[in-house]
C-alpha cells in the first residue's frame, strides 16, 4: 500500500511499487488528464507536480511519491496560480489537438511558482522538455507571459 496526497486528498493505492506514477494516475485512479507520450522523459506530456515541482510521471515509480504531495492537471485550479495559468491559456487560445497541453500547463505553472517573472532563458529551461507536435510554442510563451503579468498585478 502506497499513500500520497493527490490534489489535496489522501490517496492510497495497492499496486506494484515500481509502477510509474503515470499509470497509477491513469489506470488505477482514472485521472486521465495526465498523458502518456514517450515513457522515457523525452516529451513532457506526463508532467505533474511533486511538492510543487515539475516531474515526469512516466519515469517516476509510484514508490517515490509515498508521503508526498502530487498535483495533476485535474487539481490545478485549486490555486490562484493554477487558475491564472489556465485562464491565460484560454485567453491566448493555446491548444490545437490539446494532447500535450496538460503537461505544458503543469510545466508552466511550476516555472511561475519558482520564477513569477521569468526570463526568456528560464522559460526555455522550463519548457524545452515539453514537446508539442502541433507547434503551439509561441502561444505557450505568450500565455506564460500573460499569466506572469497578471500575477504581478495581483500583488
Amino acid at each position: 500500500m502506497i499513500s500520497f496526497n493527490l490534489n489535496g486528498k489522501t490517496t492510497r493505492v495497492e499496486v506494484d511499487p515500481t509502477t510509474p506514477l503515470l499509470w497509477v494516475l491513469r489506470d488505477h485512479l482514472h485521472l486521465t488528464g495526465t498523458k502518456y507520450g514517450c515513457g522515457m522523459s523525452q516529451c513532457g506530456n506526463c508532467t505533474v507536480h511533486l511538492d510543487g515541482k515539475a516531474i515526469r510521471s512516466c519515469v517516476t515509480p509510484v514508490s517515490a511519491v509515498s508521503g508526498k504531495q502530487i498535483t495533476t492537471i485535474e487539481g490545478l485550479a485549486a490555486t490562484v496560480l493554477g487558475k491564472t495559468v489556465q485562464s491565460a491559456w484560454q485567453e491566448v487560445d493555446v491548444p490545437q489537438c490539446g494532447y500535450c497541453q496538460s503537461g505544458q500547463i503543469m510545466a508552466a505553472t511550476a516555472l511561475l511558482t519558482e520564477h513569477p517573472d521569468p526570463t526568456e532563458a528560464q522559460i526555455i529551461a522550463a519548457m524545452d522538455g515539453n514537446l508539442c507536435r502541433c507547434g503551439t510554442y509561441n502561444r505557450i510563451r505568450a500565455a506564460i507571459r500573460m499569466a506572469s503579468e497578471q500575477l504581478g498585478e495581483a500583488k
Binding site: D16, T19, P20, W23, R26, D27, H28, H30, L31, T32, G33, T34, K35, Y36, G37, C38, G39, M40, Q42, C43, N45, T72, I73, E74, L76, A77, Q86, W89, Q90, D93, V94, P95, Q96, C97, G98, Y99, C100, Q101, S102, I105, I123, I124, M127, D128, N130, L131, C132, R133, C134, G135, T136, Y137, N138, R139, I140, R141
Partner: protein
C-alpha cells in the same frame, strides 16, 4: 508487423467491398490541382441535409452542433459550427459540439465517405453547413409565425430568438425547436451575402479549449470500458515479418496479465493496465520469420533511388520540347535532392478500444476515416457495416496517420478483440507507433534546368523516385491514372512558373515499408525541390529571387499576391538584418491555398537556426482568422521539424528511430517567431490545415544559400539526425 496485410485475393475482395461500403460517390481524396473553386461540385446535385442531423436545440436554448469531421487540432469543432451558427442566427455562446456517429448523412460532400483529410473540411462544408443552418433558421421562423398567426416575412431571427417587430412578440429557439422539427423541409434556401456575415471572418475562440486546459478532454487513449483489458502487441521488428515461434510462459505468470495470444500482427498481451501489459510484453521470447524486409537498409535504398532517377520514368507532365529546350540553353544546372521517410509521430500514440459482441461491434478510436474503418471492422468481425459503430473522441494529432487506407490499427484491434472475446483497448507504445510504418515516403529527385540568354527559365526536367502511397489501396483507382500516382507528383507537375519546356517523370518503386499521406502529402517534398531550384535559377540569372519568381509567373497567378505580401511584410531587400542572418523565400500552392514564406536564418555551430518566419496566405474567404493563424504556425513547426531533424532510417529492415530521443519534433527553443498575414479574398475558402507546411523547408534552404553559398538539397538539414 504484417504489412503486406491481406493476401491478394482477400485484398481484392476488400477493395471491392470497401468501394461498395463507401458508396458510389467517391470522386477523389486529393483532387489534383484542386483550387478552392473546384469544391463548387460540393453541392452538385444539391442534396437537402436535414438540419436535425447537425443541429439539436434543447428547451434550455442550448444548441448542440454535430460535427462530422474529426477534431485533431485543426479547429473543425469551431470553424464548422461557425458555418451553421452564421446562417442559423444562433447565439454563439450557447453552442456545444458533439462528434458525429458513422452514418451516410455525415459523409464528406466530395469524397462520399466520412473522412477528415486533404485540408478539405471547411471548403467541402462551406455550402452544405451554411445551408443546414439556413434551413434551421427558416424552420424556426416558420414555427414562430405559425404560432403567432403572422406572416413569416414579418419575422426575423437573431441571437437564437425569433422576433415579430409589429407585435413585439419574441420566442427563443429553445421554445420553438420542437414545433420547427415537425415542419417539412423548405426547398429553396437562400444563403447570406458574405457582406452580412456576423460570425464568419471574425477571430473566434476555439470551443474545445476549455476541455483541453483542465484535463477533461477525452482522447481515445482515455477511454475505459467496464471489464476492459489493456492490450499491447509485440509486432515484427521487420516490416512483413511473421511469428515463427514464441514462449510466453514468463509473460503469462506476470502479475496483472490475463492472457497472451497469437494474433495476425504478432503476440498480444492482455492485462489489467498498460504497465503490467508492457512489462509482461518485455518478457516474451519470440522468434520471428523476418522475411525479405530484412534486406532493407537506407544507404542501399538511397543509392538505388538516385540511380533510378537517371532513367526515364512515367511522364507526369510535358510542355514544349525538353530536348530542344536544353539545346537552346544559355546556362544549365542539375541537382539531386533527397528526403527521408518521416513518421507522423502524433503526440497521442495509436490506440483503439473495441467492444465486440456477437451481433455488434463498438469502437472508440481517434480516426480520420470512419467509413473505411467501419467497413474493415465489419469485414473482420463478420458483421454488416451498420452493426459497427465508431465513436470518435478527440485525436491527439492526426497529420494523416489516422486516415489509414488499410485501416491498419482498427483492423488489428478488431482481430485482437475476436481472439480475446472481452472489451479491450489496444495501446501502442511510442516505440510501437514510431516503428510501425505508414511513413511519408522517402524520395529522391533529380532536376536538370536551363535558363535562356535573358535569364528566364527555358527547360526543366524533373525525375521523381518514391513509393506510391495509394498503390494497392482503395484509393488507387481514384488517385492514380495509368499507374501514375498524382499524389507523388503534386506540386511538381502542377507548378505555375511559365517555363516553355517542362518534363516531369515518376518512378514508383515498391518495397515493404508501409507508406501513407503525411501533412501536405506530395507537396511535402515537391515544394522543397521546385522552390530551391527556382531560387537556384534566380541566382544563375543574377536576379533577385522574389523578382525572378514574379517575372516568371502568369499575370493571374495567385502566387503574386502572397509573394508580394510576404516580401513587403518582411521588408525584403530593405530590412537590415543582423550580421550573420539572411532571408530566404519560397511560395507554394497546395489544397487550393497559396502560401509564401520568408525565413530569417543564421548558422549556429554549423546548425541552421530559424529566427523568424513571415508567412502570407491566400486561402480564399476566412472563416476563423485566428484558426488560420494557428494552422499556419503549426504547419511551419511541423515542416521545420522535418526540415531540420526528421528522418526515419532502416538498418537490416529495422527502424532506427524508436522514440523522441532520436526522432525529435521541433522543440520550444527552436520555434521561430511566426507572423501570419492573410490576403483579403472574396473567393470561396480553400484548405488551411496543410498548406503552411510545404514552403518552410525551401524558404530555409534558400536563406541558408543566401547566407553561406551552400545549397541544401538533402533533408534533414541537421546532418546528425540523417543517420
Amino acid at each position: 508487423m504484417k504489412t503486406a496485410g491481406l493476401q491478394d485475393e482477400s485484398r481484392r475482395k476488400f477493395l471491392k467491398d470497401s468501394a461498395v461500403a463507401m458508396g458510389g460517390l467517391v470522386i477523389g481524396f486529393y483532387l489534383p490541382g484542386m483550387a478552392g473553386r473546384a469544391y463548387a461540385a460540393e453541392a452538385e446535385p444539391k442534396p437537402v441535409y436535414p438540419p436535425n442531423a447537425f443541429i439539436r436545440i434543447a428547451p434550455d436554448n442550448s444548441i448542440t452542433i454535430v460535427v462530422n469531421k474529426s477534431e485533431m487540432g485543426q479547429g473543425v469543432y469551431t470553424s464548422l459550427p461557425m458555418l451553421i451558427a452564421e446562417e442559423l442566427e444562433a447565439d454563439w455562446s450557447l453552442i456545444r459540439v458533439e462528434a458525429a456517429p458513422v452514418a451516410a448523412v455525415y459523409n464528406h460532400t466530395v469524397f462520399g465517405m466520412q473522412l477528415t483529410g486533404g485540408s478539405s473540411s471547411v471548403p467541402s462544408s462551406w455550402e452544405q453547413l451554411r445551408r443546414v443552418g439556413a434551413t434551421g433558421r427558416i424552420l424556426l421562423i416558420r414555427a414562430a409565425a405559425k404560432k403567432w398567426g403572422v406572416p413569416e416575412s414579418e419575422c426575423q431571427a437573431a441571437n437564437s430568438q425569433v422576433m415579430h417587430a409589429k407585435s413585439g412578440k419574441q420566442a427563443s429557439y429553445g421554445a420553438l425547436a420542437e414545433a420547427a422539427a415537425k415542419l417539412p423541409l423548405p426547398d429553396n434556401v437562400p444563403l447570406k451575402d458574405p457582406a452580412d456575415f456576423k460570425l464568419i471572418g471574425k477571430p473566434t475562440k476555439r470551443l474545445d479549449t476549455p476541455e483541453k486546459i483542465n484535463g477533461s478532454a477525452q482522447f481515445g487513449i482515455d477511454v475505459r470500458l467496464p471489464y476492459m483489458l489493456t492490450v499491447l502487441i509485440a509486432r515484427s521488428p521487420v516490416f512483413g515479418g511473421t511469428v515463427k515461434s514464441f514462449d510466453a510462459s514468463k509473460a503469462r505468470k506476470h502479475p496483472g496479465v490475463r492472457g497472451v495470444y497469437q494474433v495476425p500482427t504478432g503476440i498480444a498481451v492482455a492485462a489489467t493496465g498498460f504497465w503490467p501489459a508492457k512489462t509482461a510484453r518485455d518478457l516474451l521470447e519470440i522468434e520471428w520469420d523476418e522475411g525479405p524486409g530484412v534486406k532493407l537498409s537506407t544507404p542501399k535504398m538511397r543509392a538505388d533511388y538516385l540511380a533510378l532517377a537517371k532513367y526515364p520514368g512515367m511522364v507526369a507532365r510535358t510542355d514544349g520540347d525538353i530536348a530542344q529546350g536544353f539545346k537552346a540553353a544559355h546556362k544549365s544546372v542539375s541537382a539531386e535532392y533527397e528526403v527521408p521517410y518521416l513518421a507522423h509521430a502524433t503526440m497521442e500514440p495509436l490506440n483503439v478500444a473495441v467492444d465486440l459482441k456477437p451481433d455488434r461491434c463498438t469502437i472508440w478510436t481517434g480516426t480520420q476515416a470512419q467509413t473505411m474503418d467501419r467497413a474493415m471492422a465489419a469485414q473482420i468481425a463478420g458483421l454488416k457495416p451498420e452493426q459497427v459503430q465508431i465513436h470518435t473522441p478527440y485525436l491527439g494529432g492526426g497529420f494523416g496517420r489516422r486516415a489509414n487506407p488499410r485501416s491498419d490499427f482498427v483492423r488489428e484491434a478488431v482481430e485482437v478483440a475476436k481472439v480475446i472475446g472481452k472489451p479491450i483497448k489496444v495501446v501502442w507504445t511510442r516505440e510501437d507507433d514510431m516503428r510501425g510504418g505508414y511513413y511519408r515516403p522517402m524520395w529522391a529527385d533529380r532536376i536538370e534546368a536551363a535558363i535562356a540568354r535573358d535569364g528566364n527559365p527555358l527547360a526543366w526536367k524533373h525525375v521523381i523516385v518514391g513509393q506510391s502511397i495509394v498503390a494497392d489501396t482503395p484509393f488507387e483507382g481514384m488517385l492514380a491514372k495509368n499507374g501514375l500516382d498524382n499524389t507523388s507528383v503534386e506540386g511538381a507537375a502542377t507548378f505555375p512558373y511559365a517555363i516553355p519546356n517542362v518534363q516531369v517523370e515518376l518512378h514508383s518503386p515498391k518495397n515493404a515499408v508501409p507508406v501513407q499521406w503525411w501533412r501536405s502529402v506530395g507537396h511535402s517534398h515537391t515544394a522543397f525541390v521546385v522552390e530551391t531550384m527556382i531560387d537556384e535559377l534566380a541566382y544563375l540569372a543574377n536576379r533577385d529571387p522574389v523578382e525572378y519568381r514574379l517575372d516568371n509567373l502568369p499575370a493571374a497567378s495567385r502566387y503574386r499576391g502572397v509573394l508580394n505580401l510576404a516580401a513587403e511584410k518582411a521588408g525584403w531587400g530593405k530590412t537590415q538584418l543582423p550580421k550573420g542572418h539572411a532571408y530566404g523565400i519560397a511560395v507554394h500552392e497546395s489544397f487550393g491555398t497559396c502560401v509564401a514564406q520568408v525565413a530569417q536564418v543564421s548558422m549556429e555551430n554549423s546548425r541552421v537556426r530559424v529566427h523568424r518566419v513571415i508567412a502570407a496566405v491566400d486561402c480564399g474567404m476566412v472563416v476563423n482568422p485566428d484558426g488560420v493563424r494557428q494552422q499556419v504556425e503549426g504547419a511551419i513547426a511541423f515542416g521545420l521539424s522535418a526540415a531540420l531533424h526528421g528522418a526515419i532510417t532502416l538498418e537490416k529492415g529495422r527502424v532506427m528511430q524508436t522514440n523522441f530521443d532520436k526522432y525529435t519534433p521541433l522543440r520550444f527553443s527552436e520555434m521561430p517567431e511566426v507572423e501570419v498575414h492573410i490576403v483579403p479574398s472574396k473567393e470561396r475558402p480553400s484548405g488551411i490545415g496543410e498548406p503552411g507546411t510545404p514552403p518552410i523547408a525551401p524558404a530555409v534552404a534558400n536563406a541558408v544559400f543566401a547566407l553561406t553559398g551552400e545549397r541544401l538539397r538533402r533533408m534533414p538539414f541537421d546532418k546528425e539526425t540523417r543517420a
